[in-house]
């Protein structure tokens, strides 16, 4: 099995490389350029099944074309009646047995990979992160490290990271195509999946199960940094003091405005497990605002003033008094200054 795969792998790696060069989607988003263990497992099976199926297709198409060319009714054949063939035991056996063999070739590695990816032995020795899917954002709670964060998931490269996932409302599905296949995030049970990134990078994550109007905007990022950087990030995050006053006056106003408008009854800064809304501890380092807009003050102000226009159906709309431009501006200033760690998405070389 392995040897057979080995011989063909080279040929198909080459052909796949050509496709990749021809445009295989955006790096760190596409599943066609796998950069993690799960995505590689899937890719191997995708390649194997594509090879088998291409073979079948060529066979079908050849017979089909020859039949069409050779046996098309020709001029002067008006009265011709072909031989009425009932069937052929031999032929029918052939096209029953060969597909069975092909299916077995695909089935064996499929079963092996299925069990491999569901492996939870020694789970507690690895990094465990509790993931909560919410309409329309993701919360990440590092149980052992006592860190809370949202939207940007920091992981070390080359290490197994177990995601224990549950939903707070409807079903979501966590998908980081470049690193791993997807797993549903259900409200009734905890689903576990492990991910492992091979190299540093900021990887796009998506919600893959319809969850409401803003389903398509429920993006997040996986930020894979080196293990050392990851350690650094963890200790930086643990050191955050949510009571710390910002330096400049505008940001201080922003902090006060947040308190006045009860923002912190839903959002937490620091390691508080309060996660009605996204945790804001490292908001200034976030790759995106509202999951998909570029991180800048303008977008953040827009988001604070009218969230509905940016994420239809989000649950923040109407939960707080209408902000003045000034308030929104100062809150934005404060939030963008929340940069507790030197380890940022830039550290992932992206």
């Amino acid at each position: 099995m392995k040897g057979w795969m080995g011989k063909f792998k080279f040929v198909f790696l080459l052909s796949f490389l050509t496709i990749i060069l021809a445009g295989c989607g955006k790096e760190n988003l596409t599943a066609l350029v796998p950069k993690g263990y799960g995505a590689e497992s899937s890719m191997n099976l995708i390649i194997l099944s594509t090879v088998i199926m291409t073979f079948v297709f060529i066979v079908v198409l050849s017979i089909y074309s020859i039949a069409l060319i050779r046996f098309r009714k020709k001029k002067g054949q008006e009265g011709y009646i072909p031989k009425q063939v009932e069937g052929s035991k031999k032929l029918e056996t052939i096209w029953t047995v060969i597909p069975i063999i092909l299916v077995l070739i695909l089935a064996v590695p499929t079963v092996a990979a299925t069990f491999d990816l569901a492996d939870e032995s020694g789970k507690s020795e690895h990094i465990n992160i509790d993931v909560t899917g919410n309409q329309y954002w993701w919360h990440f709670s590092y149980a052992n490290e006592e860190i809370q964060t949202s939207q940007d998931l920091y992981i070390p490269t080359g290490k197994k990271v177990y995601l224990n996932m549950k939903s707070s409302d409807v079903i979501h599905s966590l998908w980081v195509p470049s690193i791993s296949g997807k797993m549903d995030v259900n409200p009734e049970n905890e689903n576990t999946m492990y991910i492992e990134a091979n190299e540093e990078g900021v990887y796009w994550g998506k919600c893959a199960e319809l969850c409401g109007p803003s389903h398509s905007l429920m993006d997040f990022k996986v930020i894979a940094v080196s293990p050392e950087e990851y350690e650094q990030w963890v200790s930086d995050m643990q050191a955050v003091d949510p009571k710390e006053e910002p330096q400049d006056a505008v940001a201080q106003d922003g902090k006060a405005a947040m308190e006045a408008n009860n923002c912190l009854s839903c959002h937490a800064i620091g390691s508080s497990p309060n996660a009605v809304g996204p945790n804001l501890t490292n908001f200034g380092d976030r790759t995106k605002i509202a999951g998909y807009l570029e991180t800048n003050k303008e977008n953040l102000v827009d988001w604070l003033l009218n969230p509905e226009s940016i994420k239809p159906g989000n649950l923040m709309t109407g939960k707080y008094p209408k902000l003045s431009e000034e308030e929104a501006d100062s809150i934005a200033e404060y939030l963008l200054q929340l940069k507790p760690s030197e380890i940022t998405p830039e550290s992932a070389g992206n």
Partner: protein, 617 residues
């Protein structure tokens, strides 16, 4: 009354005739018109979806409306377009193929149609009454259970009503095929289309109850305060997925098996050869149907059922490749050595083989559970099921319509328009959907209202949208073809295509009693057998005598209308108690009509032997 007499009457009488008809051929017309109407609706919804996705971050339609659009596109196409169109073909052809004068229960046949029609109308009323369903055609709980508008209520009630109609159709066809085959028409002499109708009806019989149960549970959750799917109150939302897919996977085969039957008629006819491997085709059909019930959880690989369940369902799913492969190769072998005529019906069949093969192959790729972790809920899946349902079912419907149009309406569809239509559709179809395999793997999940800029998805989506317009143009050409044909089309003889099965042994369109004398069937492809013996028709199996016919009835229409009214009552009683009256009135009408039907004996009428002899002239 004869057909000519019917044409002389006014529009009112014409309408009344169709509202009350229990004739399987006219009910077929109704199904084709009803299904065709919803096919256009679903097609327009598809166009809106593709226009929205023509460019990144487009704002052609809003997020909520987009969800309604794709929910209704899927629901409409599956339940209100593909299935009724297939039921239309079955109604038109199957009784003729087995040499019967009608289906076993003509009244039930009419009731089945009207329930479907009113269910479909009820569902589409949601567009004008506060919003269509928006939780996807799969209506996964808890999203569907908590959806704030009445949309999902319309989905539940509409599908419940139309589903009851389909179930009746299935039972009716089963009874018909079991009991009403002409003398000599043994099971193993039945044409493949009749066989697939038979197997499909069995699937309907066993699959629809699962949907009915699911819909009832959802209805009680949404309207009467139960908590079957409410996790907070101890319910379980995953159970919906099981119930839904235990129905919906066989549903896919309910759609595809009948068109396998269509191709098994068209390909032999235009290859001038009998179907290669008839017996294995029959058993492959049964095997596909049987396995179809064993594989529902392959839609749920990412739900977290665990590696054992995933592995078992993966292998079971792959197994379906074997009987499906047998079918493909048998069709190829039928063509091999034949004398192939390529006209519109054959073109659609020839287009089907490679298209469906791709769809089947991606099906096997999807069955590989770990690979599916990437494909699942991405555009790869969208591409796959459109290859199966468009490349299979829609191609099959077009093939069947071109093939049996003369039998149904007495005129041959225009060949030129038919061929142009095919090529536009064929090219448009592959343009639209082939690239979606790659879009999915490039990271585009399905049911996305927008895709973002700079994610490498722009070109693919643009190409896909262009393809859709080609298909829309082709559908329009088909409509033009229908109008053109009904005005200027070539009149069809009884047997315009040198057919092989019984439907070609009687005039086009057939008289309302089908066979003056039931034919004596002497083998597989009964008409062909006679032709080879130098005869031009089958010998009768009975002397000419009186024919017993069922009476027309308006009751099926009224019963269905009653359920339609009650549907509104159920939906709106959550807003105000006064709507309970609508439930009582609607159910009163429906149940009252049923009572009337049960108490009043309707013995039908007889066409006298003398009248039949007169019509012969």
């Amino acid at each position: 009354m004869s057909i000519a007499a019917a044409q002389k009457r006014g529009f009112g009488a014409f309408l009344w005739d169709y509202l009350t008809t229990v004739d399987h051929k006219k009910i077929a017309h109704l199904y084709l018109v009803g299904g065709g109407f919803f096919f256009i609706l679903g097609g327009l919804e598809a166009l809106f979806i593709r226009i929205q996705l023509i460019a990144p971050e487009n704002d052609f339609i809003s997020a909520g409306l987009y969800n309604e659009m794709f929910t209704m596109h899927g629901t409409t196409m599956i339940f209100l377009a593909a299935m009724p169109l297939l039921l239309g073909l079955m109604n038109a052809v199957m009784p003729l193929q087995i040499g019967a004068r009608d289906v076993a229960f003509p009244f039930l046949n009419s009731l089945g149609f009207w329930l479907f029609m009113f269910g479909g109308i009820l569902l589409n009323c949601s567009w004008f009454l506060g919003g269509a369903p928006d939780a996807g055609w799969t209506a996964y709980t808890p999203l569907s259970a908590v959806s704030p508008t009445h949309g999902v209520d319309f989905y539940v009630l509409g599908l419940q009503i139309s589903g009851a109609g389909t179930l009746m159709g299935g039972i009716n066809f089963l009874a018909t095929i079991v009991t009403m085959r002409a003398p000599g028409m043994t099971y193993m002499r039945m044409p493949l289309f009749t066989w697939t109708t038979f197997v499909t009806s069995t699937l309907i019989l066993f699959a629809f109850p699962a949907l009915t149960v699911g819909l009832f549970l959802l209805m009680f959750d949404r309207m009467f305060g139960s908590a079957f799917f409410d996790v907070a109150l101890g319910g379980n939302s995953i159970i919906w997925q099981h119930l839904f897919w235990i129905f919906a996977h066989p549903e896919v085969y309910i759609l595809i098996l009948p068109v396998f039957g269509v191709f098994s008629e068209v390909i032999p006819t235009f290859s001038k050869k009998r179907l290669f491997g008839y017996t294995s085709m029959v058993f492959a059909t049964m095997l596909i149907a049987f396995l179809g019930f064993m594989v529902w959880a392959h839609h749920m690989f990412t739900v977290g059922l665990g590696p054992v369940a995933n592995a078992i369902f993966a292998i079971a799913t792959m197994a379906i490749a074997v009987p499906t492969g047998i079918k493909i190769f048998n069709w190829l072998a039928t063509m091999w050595g034949g004398s192939i005529t390529i006209n519109s019906a054959m073109l659609w069949s020839l287009g089907f083989i490679p298209s469906f093969t791709i769809g089947g192959m991606t099906g096997i790729m999807l069955a590989s559970a770990v690979a599916d972790y990437q494909y699942h809920d991405s555009y790869f899946v969208v591409a796959h099921f459109h290859y199966v349902i468009v490349g299979g079912v829609v191609f099959g419907l077009f093939a069947g319509l071109h093939y049996w149009w003369p039998k149904m309406f007495g005129r041959i569809l225009n060949e030129k328009l038919g061929k142009i239509g095919f090529w536009l559709f064929f090219i448009g179809f592959h343009l639209t959907f082939f690239i979606q395999h790659f879009l999915g793997l490039m990271g585009m999940p399905r049911r996305y209202w927008v895709f973002l800029e700079d994610q490498g998805l722009d070109t693919g989506n643009l190409v896909s949208t262009i393809g859709t317009f080609l298909m829309a143009i082709s559908a329009t050409i088909f409509l033009i073809n229908i109008i053109y044909t009904s005005v200027k089309g070539e009149k069809a003889s009884a047997d315009p295509f040198d057919g092989r099965s019984l439907e070609w042994a009687i005039s086009s369109p057939p008289p309302y009693y089908n066979f003056k004398q039931l034919p004596l069937v002497r083998g597989l492809d009964p008409l062909w057998v006679e032709k080879m013996d130098g005869k031009d028709n089958l010998a009768p199996a009975e002397p000419l005598g009186d024919i017993h016919m069922p009476n027309s009835s308006i009751l099926p229409f009224i019963i269905s209308f009653g359920f339609f009214i009650a549907g509104f009552g159920f939906i709106y009683q959550t807003d105000h108690q006064a709507w309970n009256f609508a439930i009582f009135i609607g159910m009163g009408i429906a149940l009252g009509s049923m009572l009337m039907r049960s108490l009043k004996d309707d013995h039908g009428y007889h066409i006298s032997k003398a009248e039949l002899e007169r019509e012969a002239d």
